[in-house]
């Protein structure tokens, strides 16, 4: 990459982010839009990026590699400080000791999870799906909804506490769900899967095209997690985190936390924060949950959970 000017590449990436169609998007969404654009226009870019206006002295593969690395670094540098600070200051990892026989130092678990997030976030699909999680953290969604769920003691509370048999105070439950969120995106790492004597690198997105490998994928991803975090975090938590990517019908009865996080991460993935809501419009969360009720079977949401979340949003003007 000797012939590539880093400043020029930074300026080029900045130029792409400043495009009016991307400018107002969160950085993680912007990154995906840029990557999609590059993927779809490889042939045209091959010629264009080697013109004097761009990088005339380098090979296209080299340019492409440099571009994707620069893009990735820019995005990671932007989101990782937020995530590490959030994990450091806003999650109490001692909850793990309350729900398992393990008795690990919370600080060690915290550092391990910061390291884990730092590693998995290098994968682009993992990063993209962190947008919802960052929004949940940023806008305090778990604290808001969980407090209300625990006050109401209706369907979701019953599912979480009685059916899932996780009798925790609300603060601990919030920490528990936050830990699940930090782990859940591991499914977006591409892992090698052997099929028909061939090795494929697949992630959760690919599973929709080859659902027959879902079980195999689950087994492999769990073994990866066990290896990475198994010493500190109980298997139940790891499994629940992975299952929070599954549709309602693919979860077990006692996996209510997974079903709740599946809804919330979908809600906050494309979250748009409105400073001011147009007069005559419903509030953003109320709108989203109401629409989600109509699309519940398409997305695989638990309808009764949506109904309760809708009521909570309506009552609180969220």
């Amino acid at each position: 990459m000797a012939n590539l000017d880093k400043n020029r590449m930074n300026a080029f990436i900045e130029h792409l982010f400043n495009n009016p169609n991307i400018k107002n998007e969160p950085i993680l969404i912007g990154e995906t839009l840029i990557i999609n654009f590059v993927t779809k226009n490889l042939n045209t870019l091959k010629e264009l990026l080697r013109t004097p206006q761009f990088f005339p002295d380098a090979e296209f593969d080299e340019i492409l590699q440099f571009m994707l690395t620069t893009l990735r670094d820019k995005v990671i540098n932007k989101i990782l400080p937020f995530l590490t600070e959030y994990i450091d200051k806003n999650i109490d990892f001692s909850v793990i000791n309350k729900i398992s026989t393990k008795n690990e130092d919370a600080a060690i678990i915290k550092n391990k999870l910061i390291e884990f997030v730092t590693q998995i976030i290098k994968h682009k699909d993992v990063r993209y799906h962190f947008n919802g999680i960052i929004n949940i953290f940023k806008y305090g969604a778990l604290a808001r909804y969980l407090s209300d769920i625990f006050d109401r003691r209706e369907f979701i509370y019953n599912e979480l506490v009685k059916v899932q048999k996780l009798n925790l105070p609300v603060e601990d439950f919030i920490n528990y769900l936050k830990i699940l969120l930090l782990i859940k995106n591991v499914v977006y790492i591409k892992i090698p899967i052997e099929a028909n004597g061939k090795n494929f690198k697949l992630n959760w997105i690919d599973m929709s095209k080859v659902p027959q490998y879902k079980n195999k994928f689950f087994t492999i991803i769990m073994s990866v997690l066990r290896k990475e975090l198994g010493e500190l975090i109980p298997e139940d938590i790891l499994r629940m985190a992975v299952k929070s990517n599954y549709r309602e019908e693919e979860t077990e009865l006692n996996e209510a936390s997974a079903r709740l996080l599946y809804i919330l991460t979908h809600r906050f993935q494309d979250y748009k924060h409105y400073e001011k809501i147009d007069r005559g419009a419903e509030t953003p969360d109320k709108s989203w949950f109401n629409i989600a009720k109509k699309n519940a079977s398409y997305y695989g949401f638990e309808k009764r959970m949506l109904e309760e979340l809708y009521k909570i949003a309506a009552d609180n003007n969220w």
């Binding site: 130029h15 654009f37 419009a281 419903e282 109401n290 629409i291 699309n295």
Partner: protein, 377 residues
């Protein structure tokens, strides 16, 4: 040297300020007659009124010329309330403030009997000054901002209904003003006849009883406060008002002169003028409050039940990330617009999100190659 240029909206703001002022002027014009302000103050108001009408006439002509040049005169006149601009300018200048100023400059008493008739007509025609209030509709966009009703549709609909209401009242007032013309003329004539008869009677008594005429007249009439001054063969018999006060507060139309034989009486008619002014003020406030009520209540109603809903749907149809539902008001849920909103909420938005999800799967991007071509380091 840098050439001075008015800001683009200078004239627009000038006209808007003029509209506010002309409404105040219209009120003060009648109020000054009601409260019997000094002649000087009333003349100033008359001259001000003339300049306002002149300004609006020039504005209407300029707007018309510009519209004709753009071949949009019909659009301007019929659909952009050019007809309101017309009604509140040229007819007022030609039928009200123009002739009034003309007589003020020329001098009323030198004008002759025909002129007196014209002046009486002018008093009645004053009713059409109320059309000036129609101009308030022009300032709706300011009201729109106050009321959060920037919607052009809301402004146009409120303007249409306000114009219809005001215009209907104005037409009725103009029609009735012709009847009032007769009524008011009769009031003046009755007063004139009353004092003519009184003088005739005094003369008869004088002949029968041989009492000195001037003494008799003084004894019988000097307590009548309606008589401002009385002359006999150009000699002042008595005056109920000082000359200074008379000059200051009594304009040509505040008194009538009754001449009978050698007598000349100045009879106060300000009570009649007060009555006319009070009717005019009443009409003024009816129309002002009607317009304001439309602006406040109807605009709010229209915005909340029509234009807000259309605006939210428009955003939902055109903006990728705008997915807020419309609040359906229970009391209006049978309205067509709310039925449409229900379809938007329950059909379109869920479909839109599904389509977006499918697009995500196709890994569509909002960037194009053209976006790269303008890259410069």
């Amino acid at each position: 040297m840098k050439k001075f240029k008015f800001p683009d909206n200078f004239w627009e703001n000038f006209i808007l300020v003029s509209i506010f002022l002309v409404v105040i002027q219209t009120f003060l014009d009648d109020y000054s007659h009601y409260a019997l302000w000094s002649v000087k103050a009333r003349n100033i108001l008359l001259i001000t009124g003339f300049f306002f009408d002149l300004t609006f006439t020039i504005e209407f002509i300029v707007r018309s010329i510009l519209a004709i040049r753009k071949k949009e005169f019909k659009l301007y006149f019929l659909y952009r309330r050019g007809w309101v601009d017309f009604l509140a300018s040229i007819p007022l200048l030609l039928l009200n403030s123009g002739p009034s100023l003309y007589f003020l400059i020329r001098g009323y008493h030198s004008a002759g009997k025909a002129t007196i008739g014209v002046l009486n007509v002018l008093k009645i025609v004053k009713a059409i000054r109320i059309t000036r209030i129609l101009r308030l509709i022009r300032i709706m966009k300011i009201f729109g901002k106050i009321h959060n009703a920037e919607s052009k549709m809301a402004q146009r609909h409120t303007a249409t209904i306000a114009t219809t209401g005001v215009f209907t009242i104005v037409i009725i007032l103009i029609i009735f003003s012709f009847f009032r013309l007769n009524l008011i003329t009769n009031l003046y004539n009755e007063k004139r006849e009353h004092y003519t008869k009184l003088i005739t009677n005094i003369e008869n008594i004088n002949m029968d009883m041989d009492v000195p005429l001037r003494l008799l007249t003084f004894k019988l009439l000097s307590n009548d406060k309606n008589i401002l001054k009385m002359y006999y063969i150009n000699f002042l018999i008595f005056s109920n008002i000082s000359e200074d006060k008379f000059q200051k507060y009594y304009a040509f139309d505040d008194y009538i002169i009754v001449k009978e034989n050698e007598f000349k009486l100045y009879v106060d008619v300000t009570e009649i003028n007060k009555e006319i002014a009070s009717v005019n003020l009443e009409n003024f406030f009816i129309i002002i409050f009607l317009v304001i009520a439309y602006m406040i209540f109807y605009t709010k109603h229209f915005v909340q039940t029509i234009s807000d809903i259309v605006y939210i749907m428009y955003r939902g149809f055109t903006e990728d990330n705008y997915n807020l539902q419309i609040k359906i008001k229970k009391e209006y849920k049978e309205d067509e617009i709310y039925k449409l909103a229900e379809v938007y909420n329950d059909k379109w938005l869920p479909l839109k999100l599904k389509l977006k999800e499918e697009e995500k799967k196709k890994k569509e991007s909002k960037l194009s190659i053209d976006d790269l071509l303008n890259f410069k380091v």
